[in-house]
Symmetry: C2
Subunit: 353 residues, 2 copies
C-alpha cells in the first residue's frame, strides 16, 4: 500500500510523525507493507515551490492508495493573494482527486466530556457522522467574480444531479452501517439547489428501506445540534452547510483535538486529516495532540484499505490510553497525567505492540 504523507504546516509535521509511527507498528504487528512518501502542500509548498499545490504533490497523490494530510495555514501566509494561500492547496487536492465525500465522525470520549461547553446531560450519548459534499456547490461554481467595475460581485452555487446522487448514496450507506437514521440538511424553502437535493433524497429513499429519513432546514439544524446533539445519527448536506455544521458539531464534545476526518472519491482513494488546524502557536514545541491525526490514520485503514481490525486496534489504543488518564496539554482529565506529543504517541504504539 502506497501512502502519501502531506504534513503541511505548523503542528502538521509533528502529528504526521506520530501517525507514521503508529502505522509502522500496525504494519509490523499485522504483517502489512506500507510505503510512505512525503510531499509538500500549503504554506510549506508556497515557501519551497511558490505554489500551495505543486504538480509533484498532485501526481504523487494520484498514484497513491491513500493520502494523510496534517494541516495547512499560518500567519506567515495570511496576507498572501488568494491563489497563494495555503488553503488553496487543500481545495485543489480535493478537486484533483475528486474527493466528493467528507466524513466526520463525532463521538465524545467519556473522560473528556467534562470539557464540553454543553451540559453533560445534553451532550452525553452523542455519536454522529457528518457527511459533507466536498467538491461542488458554491466552493467551485462559476462565475465567482466582481462585476460592474467592482460595484457588484457574484458567487455561484452549482450542482449536477449526479454530484448530489453520489453523496446522498454515500450517506444512506453510512446510515445502513450505523443506527439507520439519516438527517438531510438543506434550505429548500429558499434555494432551488436545496429543492433538487431534497427531491433526490426522497427518490433514493426507496433503495434504502431500512433507513429512516428526515429533512431539516439548515437554520433549524444549527439549533438542534446544540439543543439535542444525541438525536442525530448520520447528517448529509452540501459543501458550505457542511463546512459550517461540521465545525459547529466539532466543538460539542469538548475534544476538537481528537476528531479525525476522511475525504473519499469513487474509487476508494481517500485523504485523511484531523479536524483541527495547524496551531502555529504551539508548533514545534512537542505539545501537539497527535490523536486526531492517529485516528485519521485509523479511518484510512478502515475506508481505503478495508483493514477494520487494525483500525479498531488503533481506536482501542487511544481509548485505553485516555482511560489510563494520559492527555496532551489541550485537554484535561481529572487526576490525569499530562504528556507531550511523543509520549502520547509512544503510549499508543505500546498498546498496539
Amino acid at each position: 500500500k502506497r501512502i502519501v504523507l502531506l504534513p503541511g504546516d505548523g503542528i502538521g509535521k509533528e502529528v504526521m510523525h506520530s501517525a507514521k509511527e503508529v502505522l509502522t507498528a500496525i504494519a509490523e504487528e499485522y504483517n502489512h507493507t506500507f510505503s510512505f512518501e512525503t510531499h509538500e502542500i500549503g504554506g510549506a509548498a508556497i515557501d519551497q515551490y511558490g505554489t500551495p499545490l505543486p504538480e509533484t504533490t498532485v501526481d504523487a497523490c494520484k498514484q497513491a492508495d491513500a493520502v494523510l494530510l496534517g494541516a495547512v495555514g499560518g500567519p506567515k501566509w495570511d496576507n498572501n493573494p488568494s491563489h497563494l494561500r495555503p488553503e488553496r492547496g487543500l481545495l485543489g487536492i480535493r478537486k484533483a482527486l475528486d474527493l466528493y465525500a467528507n466524513l466526520r465522525p463525532i463521538k465524545g470520549f467519556k473522560n473528556l466530556l467534562h470539557a464540553s461547553p454543553l451540559k453533560e446531560e445534553i451532550v452525553s450519548g452523542s455519536d454522529l457522522l457528518i457527511v459533507r459534499e466536498l467538491t461542488g456547490g458554491i466552493y467551485f461554481g462559476t462565475p465567482s467574480e466582481r462585476r460592474d467595475n467592482g460595484e457588484s460581485v457574484v458567487d455561484t452555487l452549482a450542482y449536477t444531479r449526479r454530484e448530489i446522487e453520489r453523496i446522498v448514496d454515500k450517506a444512506f450507506q453510512a446510515a445502513q452501517g450505523r443506527r439507520g437514521k439519516l438527517t438531510s440538511v438543506d434550505k429548500a424553502n429558499v434555494l432551488e439547489s436545496s429543492k433538487m437535493w431534497r427531491e433526490i433524497v426522497e427518490e433514493k429513499k426507496a433503495q434504502y428501506p431500512e433507513v429512516s429519513v428526515e429533512h431539516v432546514l439548515v437554520d433549524a439544524a444549527a439549533m438542534k445540534l446544540i439543543t439535542n446533539p444525541a438525536s442525530f445519527d448520520v447528517v448529509v448536506t452540501e459543501n458550505m452547510f457542511g463546512d459550517i455544521l461540521s465545525d459547529e458539531a466539532s466543538v460539542l464534545t469538548g475534544s476538537l483535538g481528537m476528531l479525525p476526518s476522511a475525504s473519499l472519491n469513487e474509487s476508494g482513494v481517500g485523504l485523511y486529516e484531523p479536524v483541527h488546524g495547524s496551531a502555529p502557536d504551539i508548533a514545534g514545541k512537542g505539545l501537539a495532540n497527535p490523536v486526531a491525526m492517529i485516528l485519521s490514520a485509523a479511518l484510512m485503514l478502515r475506508y481505503s484499505f478495508e483493514l477494520e481490525d487494525e483500525a479498531k486496534i488503533i481506536e482501542d489504543a487511544v481509548q485505553s490510553v485516555l482511560d489510563a488518564g494520559y492527555h496532551t496539554a489541550d485537554l484535561q482529565i481529572p487526576n490525569g497525567r499530562k504528556v507531550g506529543t511523543e509520549e502520547m504517541t509512544k503510549l499508543i504504539v505500546d498498546y498496539i505492540r
Copy 2:
C-alpha cells in the same frame, strides 16, 4: 403612528393580541396615539386570498410607520408548491419594504439561564447583537434554476457594493452604541463575495475609530458562538450566514421564546417579529409565550418611533414579571409559577400601568 399588524399563522394570532394590549397600555400611559390595522400574511393569506402576500397587505405595510409580524407557517401548507408557501410572504414583504437590516439582540435572562444547553459558566455574560443582511445574497440572486433538463441546478449569491456598505454601516453604528466591538463573519478564503465584504469592512473602519473590528470565518464563528458566546458584541454577516448563525445563537441562552427581532429599511420603517415560529402544536390553546412578540413591540418603539423610555418600560416590565417567577409553559423557573398567554400579558400590562 400607524402600525400594521400581521398576525400570520399558529400562535402568531395569540401573541399579536398580547402585543397590541401592551402597546395600548403604553399609548394610554404616555399619551401617544397608535392606530392598528390588521392584515393577512403567510398561510392565513393563502387560505383567504390564494397568495401568501396579498397586494393589500403590501400596500398597507408601505403606508405604515411600522409593522408587527407574528409568525408564518404550519403543516397545512408544508406540501404546497414554493410560490404558495407561507414563508414566501415573509421573503416578499422583506423585499417589498427593502428591510435590509435584520437585528437580533440575544441576551440571557438570569433566572432562565439554567435552561441553556450550555454550561452556566460558558453562557453567562452573553449579550450579543446579530446584524444580518436580509434582502440580498443567495436568497434573491438570479439565476436560481434547473438546467440541462433538470440534470443540474444553480443558485446565485449576488451583492452590490452599496448593499454591503449599508449593512456594514448599520453594524458599525450599532457597535458604537454598545461595547464597541464588531465581528464581521465571512468565508473570504473561498468566496469572492466574502472578499469584497471583508474589503468593505476594512474601508469603513476608519470612519468608526472607536469600534474595534475582527474578521472571523463562518465555520470558526459557528464554533466560537458555542465555546465563547460572551466574547461577541455585534456580529455582522450576509443573509445566509446570518440565517444560520442567528438561529444557532438563539438557543444559547435557553429562552428562544423570549427573543425579538427587528428588520429595518433606510427610512426607519421596520418590521418587528419574534424569533420563534408559529408553533402549530400549541396554537389556539392559550399557552404561547407572548414575551418575544411583546419585546419585538418594544424594539419597534425604540427603532422606528424613537421612544426609548417607553421601550425600556416594556423591557423592565418583562424582567420584573420574570423576577417574580412567572413563566409560560415553554420555560421553567425554579419555584416559579406557570401562567398562560393571557395572564402573562396582564402581568406585563399591570406593571406598565
